[in-house]
Amino acid sequence: MPRIASIDLTSSNIEIQETPVELVHRWLGGRGLGAAILSERVGREIDPLAPENCMIFSTGPFNGTTWPAASRFHVTFKSPATQAYGYANAGGHFGPELRRAGYDALVITGQAPSPVFLRVTNEEICILPAGDLWGQPTSLVEDRLRQEAGGRVAAIGPAGENLVTFAAIINDGGRAAARSGPGAVMGSKRLKAIQVIAGNAKFPMNPEFARLAKGMSQRVIRFPESQGLMNESTLFLMAIKNRVGDLPAKNHQLGQVPFIQNLDSKGFSKYVVDRRGCAVCSLRCARESAVPEGEYAAQIEGPEYETTDSFGPMCWNSNPQVVIRANELCNDYGLDTISTGVTIAFAMECHQRGLLNDAEFSLEWGDPATILGLTEKIGQREGLGELLAEGTLRAARRIGGGAEDLAMQVKGLEIPRQEPRIAKSFGLGHATSNRGADHLYGLPGIDLAGNWEAAQKIFPAEILPVLMDTADESYKADVVVYGENFCAIIDSLGLCKFTTAETYCILPADLAEGLQMLGWSIDEVGLFTIGERIVNLERLYNQRHGLDRKDDHLPARFTREPLPVFAYTPGPVDGSLVESGEPIMTGQIHNFDAMLDRYYKLRGWDDRGIPTLPTLERLGLEKYHNDHG
């Protein structure tokens, strides 16, 4: 039977119990399970970096099986970035290993008196000294622990030890549970790493489930929308986003760059040395890239689209080698590449506007020494890095002079790499996400992807022509609400969104069928009720911490400054692009409040964004009504 282990690092007490069946039936696993446990155990009085904060490493019912892309584990905690709800998840092999070792969740509290790591096996959990690993990069920690005992490792680097608010957990050679600061919480507990060793343990599956999973896997490979990811990785997005103005540049002052040919999948292809994939995934969308020598010598899994935009266009850097090296530094220090790149871009715009100077770095747009140097300084919390390690919002408040308008964040978390004036569903989703700005909270891209085929299965036919118009704001809330509920299900089952909410290859009904074959009594409607319940519980957690409508807002740039979009044509010299003299269109949010009003109405929340009692009763959450934690 799957178990939940409670580990108190202060007392070294470890308790392991069978997972209550009613708990997973109510919350599925993964993200839902994490939300349920955090809500019960971490109130508003607890500081995110206090020993009383919990870290819940959780798996979902598909982890450990052969269901395609069931590779992701989840970690839930009170966030040092948002000071409220936080979570992150990552692919690779760690999640399935944890599930095969027999755990639905590791619930970690307390603070070890000196650095430790956890060794988790099917038989026992040991708290072991990690003094010699403290201060070491994540790659070295993983290598050393795997050489000693095998298995899979998730570790923090110096950034987590130094409590950088956007520190990440790195597993499996460069996979990152990065968003909203889990590395800092782990560092505050003096927990350097978790090593899971499942050995040859297999997760029991019946033949019908195995057949269905195999069929799904084949469907994923053949699916048209999978081809870009399979053939080019997420970098296939760079060129097309640049074309339409959805490639944030210069801290969102622009949405395009003239040097895209350096940074698209073709530009990076000369550095690709291998193709990689997560456990049980037929997409194998990752690339291993290497700069073999020179001042930017590095080898990483990646870079992905989000990292490339963060350290490329956002910082006005046209050199792919700098992106690869910055990615390697983030992995070794244990930093979120999105927040790190966006924070450096913020510093550069502060400098552009005369608000910030530094004795060590020029802070000029595109300067490789600034980009790579600040990445290290942030990880070390030294020099200007001490300020920037707090993230853009808190740094802006200390800088003053209007810097807060230049902080591209929501709820204290830096915005991922979509342009809200072009991809308006994503813009609304960044604002409403309960873990701060986040493209994966709802992945509301059905309009941006032109996925009419999926949309007509979800939304009423009469609204489709308007809903699928990315510029029309009337039904963006509908796209976000559906996406958020679907993503809560996906995160709770332990799945990757590239086979589900990104492409709509595997649909909710398929997930319900898979669960039925694992013995669950659930259908698509039941799944969506759980998804909605999870989003509402996360909202209630934030409500407990004083968050409401005022926190569901985008930076002023997106509602005040129109974004010009230009046509680019190949120029006469070396294929570099020439910008059209006049913009061909303008990206603009016309009435953000109207989108938010509709979002609240569809959710059954009041006009402050607070779930109403009837909504809570419908979802079985009425005990949280007026809960102030």
Partner: protein, 93 residues
């Protein structure tokens, strides 16, 4: 001659200048020929999104009578009264 209703979405509509138009076309024209003709008329952003080496780009999503046109279906002939929808296909991140 046949009449086909063509709907353009998002930046493609910006390029064409209208969201919908009825287009008069020769009989037996294929979906691919329609797209190639539009691309020839609209060099720059439309052409770059629609075609790669004269073939449909992976970043163009086309629906014929509200059904997705798969790569092998671009040679299908259009009929009078048909509806074509064209989207740029961009994923999230």
């Amino acid at each position: 001659m046949i009449t086909v209703k063509v709907s353009y979405y998002n930046i493609l509509a910006t390029c064409v200048g209208v969201k919908h138009e009825s287009v008069l076309l020769p009989e037996n024209i294929t979906i691919l020929t329609l797209i190639q003709g539009l691309a020839e008329r609209l060099p720059g952003t439309f052409q770059e999104i629609a075609l790669v080496n004269e073939a449909p780009s992976p970043h163009l999503r086309v629906f014929h009578n509200r059904r997705l046109v798969k790569p092998e279906d671009f040679e299908l002939s259009l009929a009078d009264g048909d509806e074509i929808m064209m989207f740029p296909a961009i994923a999230g991140g």
